[in-house]
Every structure is written in C-alpha cells, then in structure tokens.
Symmetry: C2
Subunit: 113 residues, 2 copies
C-alpha cells in the first residue's frame, strides 16, 4: 500500500490541503476561467469592456455568425456576466461583472508588458 510518509512531506501536504480547502471557491473560480478560455467569449468580453454593443455588431467585429455569438451570449448571460437591453429589434449587451473586467485587464497587462 502506498504511503505518503514514505517521503517526509506531511507538513507540505497539509499546507497545500489548507490552501485549496475551499473547494467551492475553486470550483467557481475554474468556471470563471473556463468562460474566458474560449476565444470567442473572451473577445466578446473584451469588446464589451469598451462599450455597449448589439449582437449584430459583435458578430461583425468577431467575424463570427450571429448565431454563434448569440449562443455564447446566452452562456455569458446565464452566468450573469453580461446583461441585455432591448431597443427596437436590436439587443444591446454590456458587462455585468466588474470582477471579470479586472481579471481580463490584469491578464492583458501581463501579456503586453
């Protein structure tokens, strides 16, 4: 039978365990990262960082079909990362989560400096 004590890292293990104790937090965290892990969604979020945009414009900007954008927006909406506002036949979207915006900002800064 395998034994962790075979190599003396008991205290290390405990520290690591403690660090990831809040499984719930880590779960939600990885979910957030997962959302931004898709290029289309990340582009949507980045685009909306600047301003309010409708589905049609988003599709044009990202060079993706309106359907594809709509599908992704639905995901972003279900996680309350984005909110919509209807105006005639247009539907405008804006970011609804300043955390996401900060995350992206930090990430971009790291990659561009």
């Amino acid at each position: 039978m395998k034994e962790s004590l075979a190599h003396n890292h008991r205290t290390s293990i405990q520290a690591a365990l403690k660090a990831i104790a809040d499984v719930d937090t880590l779960g939600r965290l990885s979910e957030t990262f997962k959302i931004l892990g898709d290029p289309t969604r990340l582009k949507i979020v980045v685009a909306l960082t600047n301003e309010e945009l409708c589905v049609f414009d988003l599709a044009q900007v990202l060079s993706v079909s309106e359907s594809a954008v709509s599908h992704q927006l639905r995901i972003l909406r279900s996680l309350r990362l984005v909110k919509q506002r209807k105006e005639g036949k247009l539907v405008f979207y804006t970011l609804n989560d300043e955390h996401i915006e900060d995350l992206v900002r930090v990430a971009i800064r790291h990659y561009t400096e």
Copy 2:
C-alpha cells in the same frame, strides 16, 4: 445583404475592433484562461503556489489518480507553466510563471472579499 450602417454604430465597431486588434495576444490569453478553466489543473496550480510538490503528493492532495495528475502536469509543462526537478524516483514540480500566480491571486481575492 446585411449592412452595419443600418444602425449608426460605425465608430463603436471601430473602437471595439481596435480593442481586440492583437488577435495573437487574445489567443494566448484565452489559452491561459483555458488552462485554469479545468478544476484539476487549477488545483495543481494553486497547490504549487505554496510550495514544491511531487506527483504522488499532488495526487493525494487533489484526490485524483497519479495518472490523471501526470497527464495534466504534462499539459502544464508543455506550456512552460510548471517545471520539474527529479530527486531519486520522485519528481518535484514548481510554478514556472509568475503571471499565472498573479492571475490566480487576483481571481481568488475577488471571490473571497
């Protein structure tokens, strides 16, 4: 044929386009997010934020098979997010990218405050 000019958001589109102009950066960015988007990998990264750990310990801490951990470590290694150090039959891993560490830190802070 569809026309963006149908609704007056030309300048908005241009701004959005400019914002996501560096497709390469966004691509790498979403790749990074994608890596952290998997719970197992995120846990590995978080665990390694604290200290050097070997595969066996990681497997114990995360309650995942050594094989699964090894597979994920291979991915993290291929993206140079992690580096290894052999010591006898043990292989110790440490983080190799301070950007990742910062990203996770920022994300955790947002979710816990």
